[in-house]
Subunit: 163 residues, 2 copies
Amino acid sequence: MGHSGGVANRDRNASVPLDAASKAIIEQLQEDGRRPYAAIGKAVGLSEAAVRQRVQKLLDQGVMQIVAVTDPLTVGFTRQAMVGIRVEGDIEPVADALAALDEVDYVVCTAGSFDLLAELVCEDDEHLLELINKRIRALPGVRSTESFVYLKLRKQTYTWGTR
Amino acid sequence: MGHSGGVANRDRNASVPLDAASKAIIEQLQEDGRRPYAAIGKAVGLSEAAVRQRVQKLLDQGVMQIVAVTDPLTVGFTRQAMVGIRVEGDIEPVADALAALDEVDYVVCTAGSFDLLAELVCEDDEHLLELINKRIRALPGVRSTESFVYLKLRKQTYTWGTR
DNA sequence: AAGATCGCGACGAAATCAGCAGCTTCCACG
DNA sequence: CGTGGAAGCTGCTGATTTCGTCGCGATCTT
């Protein structure tokens, strides 16, 4: 796929333990992804070089990524939806197949009345319909799906900090 | 709230028309939010200053934001969930109330068997339980909720490009 | 048609980044 | 205990990038 790979792709469940300094660095970059290393260093009490090394390592490890995020509705994707999926048999291969689709930007395994949730980004209704009916429901192991078409995005933040 | 505000907070439904150059710039920054302006300029055929001015405008307009994103599970939030909510009466005030909660990082109005979807980020089970039972279900207008606790994040990308 | 506005390219000054060497700390191991 | 090694931090230097500003040309405005 043309994607550069998202968080949790490198070490799937690595659960890298983060010390206080790295968490503080992440919080700084959650506020502004382009904040200079020196400014971050001043805020967290490290030298500029140390911050740079840590940031690079966090990126390499896949713990975080620094990217531009947009509201898809404002950049030409007029239809978005969340799809709840019930699977029979192994969930993993279905999750993998979903993750391989370019229009799917988010896949999560869940407990509850769905086994998987996937967020879809489409150009129009026709595209969305084709994706759900022809490609997602056709995946082996998919028992049923339920779609929630997005009407309005109300909140989208990335600054939840760390603990 | 302590949040800096997400996409679509400034001009809610602004739908700013983006020309090809701005779209190309956004795509560059979706790959790497720290890519230098000069490199972006070379890729999209503009000068460094032009890229810089356009990026600044896109940020000011709220069309995009450049931030660090992480898998919350790796930074100390052990419990995440999506909550589907059925509302009676106006949806807007409920959406506003949800958006005001710090633990809620994502709120969207949907068509389908839920009126709203909200993503929650919590520190532990107790925190999650308290949030759903005491604060979300107690909101006026909330008829019922259904929770999907996250077991494993499989894909999370922001590089869907533009159209 | 003159004037105003907007976006872009150009350029210099200042800030930032990248790589490297040296130092300290902390363990593991003999 | 003492030593080797790894990891992390700092300070340094040169290269790169960012930032403010200016002038130009195209497009609108009146």
